[in-house]
């Protein structure tokens, strides 16, 4: 029998706020243990939570971007369970009235090759709600240590419908969430830093059936490649179970990345009975139309919309947009360049995607080669990019200046590569470099005529071939002219001269 996998995700995204969700102490990654706490974080007797409005605003913002409905009233509930990383032994979360309902995430599957757009579809969302993160446990041989720095950090939970069917779709879904969330500045979504984590639900059913099979949950998987491997493993495991008649148990399994398998977690002694009830310490929130309008007014463009716009308005090929549109800083950079010089969007995009990325990446490699590096490249790149772009001496306006003088044939494309490297390293403008190094192309016809004559005289064979109809033969003459002009001959001027002299 052929089986179809049905996959749903619960994706937790840490929201980038300056202070925690229910108290005003700050959160940063990798600080010394228990140095980012206050009485509220420790749940000392008598403390009370107060909502951080910024976290609410950012969650609504994402909800609007994903086309969710924002109900008028939202409230906070207590989810009661005991665990050492949870100081109150209840988590402040949202049970039956979350901030966002419905909506969907547009995803793109991988295309046939890098220059072809893959298929798009929308993965349906159930809801997005806001809650608080827990502390961190570190396990030792005989005991565990608890650090509450992370406890109370705002966390949004994006819950999808069981609407995906392969690891590749899930991968595309996570990428789309990450792009959107980081575009909106809501989170950096660095999975290695725990800024994005997901629980995956997988079940199998006979292809064509519309009934859901027994669901297995895998919790807290911390990288996209682990998510992919875990799902592929689990689909295979469940298929083998079904094929050999072993019943699938509804359970939570742990992904062991080292072994590359999922393992059943010891069954909880009692089923979860979270005793949700409305938190009496926090008041409900009423989302007014005015508030919604003000958030809507500040929404950033969805990455896929931007990509389509770049393709249609600027005539960019898919391959360029797929690089640009995964990085908000790169897009901003691109649009700032276009503002300075709007005439050649394609050349500008090319220069950013190829030259600028190359230099940025080289610089990044240089820096990170000194550190022990465990980050996944794709995840790392987008995070680090923004920092490097910010510090980049080559501003968008300067890059536009370079495109402009290439278009004006002041320097050749060949020469431009060299100029670019110097601009990146020093922050000088293209004009400054061209002037200092005297690189301007030679368009002086009388001087060029002299070089051309000499080249024709020295290469009778090529001339003969050209005359015989081999257009390409003329290239053999360009080299010597370029050499004589020290590379500054303007090909646009040079070619007509050569052709004229041969005739």
């Amino acid at each position: 029998m052929e089986y179809e996998a049905v996959i749903g995700l619960e994706t937790h995204v840490q929201i980038k706020t300056r202070s925690k969700m229910f108290t005003s102490v700050a959160y940063k990654f990798a600080e010394a243990p228990n140095t980012l706490t206050d009485p509220v974080v420790w749940a000392l007797p008598g403390v009370l939570p107060v909502l951080n409005f910024e976290a609410i605003r950012k969650t609504i913002e994402l909800g609007l971007m994903f086309g969710c409905t924002i109900p008028e009233i939202t409230k906070w509930d207590r989810k009661n369970y005991f665990y050492p990383d949870s100081p109150k032994n209840y988590q402040l979360s949202q049970y039956d009235q979350p901030l966002c309902l419905g909506g969907g995430v547009e995803i793109e599957m991988e295309g046939a090759n890098g220059s072809e757009m893959g298929a798009h579809r929308v993965v349906k969302l159930t809801r997005i709600h806001l809650e608080e993160d827990v502390g961190k446990l570190t396990h030792f041989a005989h005991d565990s240590l608890v650090d509450y720095n992370r406890a109370g950090t705002p966390l949004m939970e994006i819950v999808s419908e069981p609407d995906m069917h392969s690891a590749d779709e899930v991968f595309a879904y996570l990428n789309a969430i990450r792009n959107t969330v980081s575009f909106a500045g809501i989170s950096d979504c660095d999975m290695e830093k725990g800024q994005m984590r997901c629980d995956v639900n997988v079940s199998l059913r006979p292809k064509g059936s519309d009934k859901l099979g027994v669901k297995v949950e895998m919790k807290n998987i911390n990288s996209t490649s682990n998510v992919r491997n875990c799902i592929n493993y689990e689909i295979r495991r469940q298929r083998e179970c079904l094929e050999s008649g072993v019943p699938i148990v509804q359970e939570t399994r742990r992904w062991d990345a080292a072994l590359g398998i999922t393992q059943s977690m010891r069954n909880k002694e009692d089923a979860h009975d979270y005793r949700y009830f409305p938190d009496p310490d926090l008041l409900p929130v009423k989302i007014t139309p005015e508030l919604l309008d003000s958030i809507r007014a500040d929404l950033v463009e969805m990455p896929f919309d931007r990509q389509r716009r770049y393709m249609s308005d600027f005539g960019l090929p898919y391959s360029l947009t797929s690089v640009l549109c995964h990085d908000r800083e790169l897009c901003n950079y691109y649009e700032a360049s276009l503002k300075a010089y709007p005439k050649n969007p394609k050349a500008t995009a090319n220069m950013i995607v190829n030259d600028l990325q190359r230099e940025l990446y080289a610089k990044l490699q240089q820096q990170s080669s000194q550190e022990e590096d465990v980050f996944e490249e794709t995840e790392r790149k987008s995070v680090e990019h923004s920092k490097h772009l910010e510090e980049c001496l080559l501003t968008p306006e300067k890059l536009a200046g370079l495109v402009e003088i290439i278009d004006a044939a002041v320097i050749s494309k060949q020469m431009a590569k060299e100029v670019f490297v110097e601009m990146f390293a020093t922050g000088k403008t293209a004009a400054e470099i061209v002037k200092q190094r005297n690189l301007a192309q030679n368009s002086d016809t009388s001087e060029l005529e002299e070089f051309c004559r000499k080249a024709i005289e020295a290469n009778p064979k090529a001339v003969a071939e050209f005359k015989a109809g081999n257009e390409k033969a003329i290239n053999a003459l360009i080299g010597p002219v370029m050499k004589a002009s020290k590379g500054k001959a303007n090909p646009a001027v040079l070619l007509p001269i050569l052709k004229g002299l041969i005739k």
Partner: protein, 489 residues
């Protein structure tokens, strides 16, 4: 006017301090002496910190001497129920669970008292985590009723009531979730007030039931209660449920003629079979006195009154089961030495740390929230809570305040109700509605039973109309003249 300095009112002592007839240090020493003398009989205090209090009193003397008096409370010894956090002081909640816990921060209400120059004189006994109506649930000691030491002082703020009534402090703070200020005030013959929910910040008050808890004053006169309430009231950004309103000078606004022309409601539901005959008689006399002072007495109906007990004990225990989950043996509480894994760390630490009533209520609260029972108990209770709120809203359309007994009975004997939790729960019948509706209520002494036990009149006011409520209470108190009666100790 009382001869003994320890029975003087806050307002009298303020005047004496102003006139340098006594210093704050001398005053405190009077209370230290008084406390040490009668504590063996009363048992109101869990702990006190003499040296810190003396240092605060000395600072106060300096301020008063240099004309920088902070308020009428400057230099006045105030007792705190051991459920209100003060930085550097123990905060036990009368529980073994927190026997050694020292708070690293101060509650907003206590901070306001400090800013007003008050001297913190000791931490007062209570039912463990404020759960109880007799103060018998303290893990540490039994507090006796100063009027009859074979009887309970009421609860849960029994220590605050007994200490104030016995002259071991001038005024005190307590907390009231279902009557925990008013009922012991009534049984100890003093004034106790639960403000409107949201008037006083709960930040730093160890929570019992968050949607019902309020901090409030104990005093030997309505005016003293007004001074204390005016000091601790006001919006606090650290408590989302505290309300942004202007706090008037309650004490200055008191009006001895306030009863004239007021319409006061009397609800038959509060005078049912469970009300002791002597209590009924004293309260009826109080109502007549109000009428004689110009008040119109009007029958009102609060039809859902008898549902308050189930509603209250469902909501309060549900919230408590969650609020007390933090006392788990992990971070700052008692930790069992017998634990060998995380689960037994929880179950054994909580078994050892909590007393019987706390366990019983946590169990009950966990049950009413648990899967399959939520709708029948918790959700339904929340809906009936709405009906109870509406009863009061309707009644207050035609009356300015409502008069009831504070407690259906006078102080009972130790052990009388401990074997039967339901009987104990039923003794809260007159006070819990006020918490469920979030309204202000005050208990004022209204005489004695033939055995000489104090009886309290409860006056329930409109939300955030403390000024009006205090004035009515003040006018009654002036007319009734019970505020100078003190126990024979």
């Amino acid at each position: 006017m009382s001869q003994e300095i320890y029975y003087k009112k806050l307002t009298e002592l303020d005047e004496m301090l102003d006139k340098s007839e006594i210093s704050a240090v001398e005053l405190l020493k009077e209370f230290i002496g008084r406390t040490k003398q009668i504590e063996p009989q009363i048992g109101a205090f869990i702990s006190f910190d003499e040296s810190r209090a003396l240092a605060q009193a000395a600072e106060s003397d300096k301020r008063r001497a240099s004309g920088r008096k902070l308020s009428a409370l400057d230099g006045i010894p105030v007792g705190l129920k051991d459920v209100i956090a003060v930085r550097g002081q123990k905060l036990t909640c009368a529980s073994k669970m927190l026997e050694n816990y020292v708070s690293p921060y101060t509650a907003t209400a206590a901070l306001k008292l400090e800013d007003a120059g008050a001297v913190f004189w000791g931490r007062l006994n209570m039912d463990e985590f404020a759960m109880g109506s007799s103060c018998e649930n303290s893990a540490f000691l039994k507090t006796k009723n100063p009027w009859d030491t074979t009887r309970i002082p009421g609860g849960s703020s029994g220590g605050s009531a007994a200490a104030t009534a016995a002259g071991e402090c001038v005024v005190a703070l307590g907390s009231d979730t279902g009557g925990s200020i008013r009922q012991p005030a009534s049984l100890c013959g003093i004034v106790g007030m639960k403000p409107t929910y949201g008037l006083v910040s709960r930040y730093g008050l160890a929570a019992f039931a968050s949607s019902l808890d309020q901090i409030g004053p104990f005093a030997r006169s309505v005016k003293d209660a007004a001074v204390l309430l005016g000091t601790i009231a006001g919006h606090d950004p650290k408590d989302s449920t505290s309300v942004k309103i202007d706090i008037p000078d309650y004490a200055a606004q008191l009006d001895a003629g306030a009863l004239s022309g007021k319409t006061l409601g009397v609800a038959a539901e509060y005078f049912g079979d469970g009300v002791d005959a002597a209590v009924r008689k004293r309260v009826e006399e109080a109502i007549e006195l109000c009428r004689s002072k110009g008040a119109n007495i009007k029958e009102v109906s609060l039809p859902h009154t008898d549902l308050a007990i189930p509603v209250y004990y469902i909501i309060a225990t549900a919230e408590a089961s969650s609020n007390l989950a933090r006392y788990d043996g992990v971070r700052y509480t008692h930790r069992s030495k017998l634990a060998d894994d995380v689960i037994s760390l929880y179950t054994k630490s909580r078994a050892e740390g909590f007393g019987e009533e706390v366990k019983r209520r946590i169990i009950l609260g966990s049950y009413v929230l648990s899967s399959g029972y939520y709708d029948a108990y918790y959700l339904r209770a929340q809906k009936v809570r709405t009906l109870i709120r509406r009863d009061f809203e309707r009644a207050f359309e035609s009356v300015d305040a409502i008069l009831t007994p504070t407690s259906p009975t006078p102080a009972f004997k130790f052990g009388e109700k401990t074997a039967n939790p339901l009987a104990m729960y039923l003794s809260d019948i007159c006070t819990i509605n006020v918490n469920l509706a979030g309204l202000p209520g005050i208990s004022v002494p209204c005489g004695f039973t033939p055995e000489g036990l104090p009886v309290g009149l409860q006056i329930i006011g409109k939300a955030f109309r403390e000024s009006e409520l205090l004035s009515i209470a003040y006018a009654y108190e002036q007319a009734a003249g019970f505020s100078d009666a003190h126990p024979n100790l």
